[in-house]
């Protein structure tokens, strides 16, 4: 419930996102426009991209994106143009910057740390005859029982 109640509020006026009259005649350029739109946030919505949004502002942004493409901008130039106007908040995929470094590096860093801990753990489990890991008689009996199974 919780999740969709929230979702519902942002979609208060469902219906059409991209309207037929917005679509560019050149299919390649239109595909580019759609791809760019999927990465841009509808600023008055909750976590919705302008391609899916029905908000008036989203429509304006979609038209702006297409306008820039028709004017000959590259995808990156269009994105930069929108960011210049609306700030980094408009990007659904934050750029890799000093401020956002931890967001992007969290996964890789945790994976490396986790993998290292796992490896140490498994290697320790693997050294049966180490001094610290020597089995006491009770453990040995248990192990034997398990191995006989």
């Amino acid at each position: 419930m919780l999740r969709y109640l929230l979702l519902v509020l942002m979609l208060a006026t469902p219906g059409m996102a991209v309207e037929p009259d917005e679509i560019l005649a050149d299919p390649v350029m239109e595909t580019r426009a759609r791809d760019i739109s999927k990465g841009l946030r509808c600023l008055v919505c909750r976590n919705e991209n302008i391609d899916d949004s029905n908000a008036e502002l989203a429509r304006d942004l979609r038209l702006l994106v297409r306008e820039r493409l028709v004017a000959g901008d590259t995808d990156q130039e269009v994105e930069d143009f929108v960011v210049d106007r609306y700030g980094e908040y408009v990007l659904l995929k934050p750029v890799f910057s000093l401020g956002n470094a931890m967001l992007w590096l969290a996964g890789p860093i945790l994976l490396i740390i986790g993998a290292w801990i796992s490896l140490v753990f498994i290697r320790r489990k693997n050294t049966v005859t180490g001094d610290t890991d020597a089995l006491n008689p009770e453990e040995q009996a248990k192990l034997d029982a398990l191995l006989q199974d």
């Binding site: 419930m1 208060a12 219906g15 309207e19 700030g87 659904l92 995929k93 996964g107």
Partner: protein, 659 residues
Amino acid sequence: MTAELGHYALILAFAISIPQIFIPMFGANKGWNDWMRFATPAAIAQFLLVGVAFAMLTVAFVTSDFSVRLVAANSHSAKPMLYKVTGVWANHEGSMLLWLTILTLFGATVAVWGGNLPPSLKARVLSVQSMIGAAFLGFILYTSNPFTRLAQPPIDGNGLNPLLQDPGLAFHPPFLYLGYVGLSMAFSFAVAALIEGKVDAAWARWVRPWTLAAWIFLTIGIGLGSWWAYYELGWGGWWFWDPVENASFIPWLMATALLHSAIVVEKRNALKSWTVLLAILAFSFSLIGTFIVRSGVITSVHAFANDPDRGVFILVILAVAIGGALTLYALRATQLKSTAVFGLVSRESGLVMNNLLLSVAAAVVFVGTIWPLVAEITTGAKVSVGAPFFNIAFTPFMVVLAMILPIAAMLPWKRSNLRRTIRPLWGIAALSVALGAAVWVMQTGGRMLAPVGLTLAFWVVVGSLADVAARVKLGKASLTESLRRAGNLPRADWGKMFAHTGFGLMIFGISAIMAWEFEDIRTVEIGQTFPLQAYEVRFEAVESIQGPNYTAERGVFALVKDGVEIVKLYPEKRNYPVQSMPTTEAAIDQSLLRDVYVVLGDRQSDGSWAVRSYVKPFTNWIWIGVFTLAFGGVLSITDRRYRVASTARKTSISAVPAE
């Protein structure tokens, strides 16, 4: 009277929850049986009282008692009965009461069926469970009382958001909560075990069914929500990486990791302290999810329960529960020594990798979800983190998981030979890659998504089947012998096969829809026909219809293939006058191969209509995958050893079968 009765029942439940915290815990420390036994009737009484409160609120909704503020704000006399009932939990106060009802239900099940638990463990588990119960009873009574009366009741209520008036969504919250809150059981067991200072195979056997139950419900709950979004929201999106979705997905990932690590505790008496930590974290993320959703902290603009009092209250609960449990863990975890020994190449190692990938993936989703908040607090920057980020940052973990799954699932326990284990899988691996290559050659666009996705899906599905085939010596022994072996295979092994197959099917459905979806947006006049990939769509009419509590414009479309009409499609644009809110109802022709999805848009000034239509290949396999996953869980939970474990715990752990 009903509302007052409900309110009174809640106060009584609160009054019982406090002694249920202290008496059994103290009794368990002193070894006093009478004190420990207090937990059983208290937990049952607590559940019954909360149940009474929930029933009273339901009565108020069903009878449209608009003198109750909550009913007036969220219900309407003209609403169909189903949605009067589901309206109970389609609001903040009611959903918290449902949360609490399920929490006390889980406590009561331990009280009733936990007869074979060691008495001290049972007492401590119920004591911890009551701590959570008391916290949330306090939360409801002090900040979110659902039974508040209105001095001047309105003639009729405000109604329920029309988008929520849908069978798919009606049952989504109870399932989600059964999962979310069910993880409290794993948490209580973990904290109780830390207090006892003992975690063994018997403990793992006790925790596993509860975690499995929670996980099954969570799986189905998330699946239902996604399915609802697919057909209701009007463009067939099925996952948005919305903070509120992530709030349920993170506990799901943690619970999945927990299920796998608990196997190692049960079978091999290893990974104990990690498993306890996972149990604590899984429920902690459920609590954090509740906080995220209830406080509106992540989504300041449109949050629906944007009330700082409530947020602060939950934040305190959060800090005490998580902080307390982790402190206890830090103090006691070293006592949980493992005796098991295993090699670098072993099932144990495979499960460690599973846990590593799942928990880091969960962490990535968590960091992405709270990042906007972190960035704003630390640097003041306003940042958005949406689907494009998660697709890049999360997907690699699932890719690696899918790659290692069939191998790790077949590795024997303790120590094994990688080359020998892989031998039966080489053929499948080669076939998978060949399939991916064929897809790559055949498809027109150059994207790698479909070839890679299909390779992995085939590899996981067939690899999971091959595991069972190898276990029953299919093709190596006679058919009767194989059948006999299949009959003897424990349910848990079938569960494993189904769950892993479900994961593979999901990969298939997700890759297919992402890579091959076809979309068409145009204006169409009535009577016109337009092409849609291999089909033609004939727009026949628009008619006005009257629903129970809405009016609608209904489009009539004929789906035609090779000149033959396959089916009529009726997408609607509804208007609910009570809320003066429009919704779209997409018309979907479903099949296993593709969905044809048609949405009626606005009427244009020239009299034509905007129409959006899609061909979504293999979409239903996403949900078939989800339910196959859940079915695997159901098979696992009905495994004989949990029933055996509950009736005759004296049999020591004959865990590992001979290889």
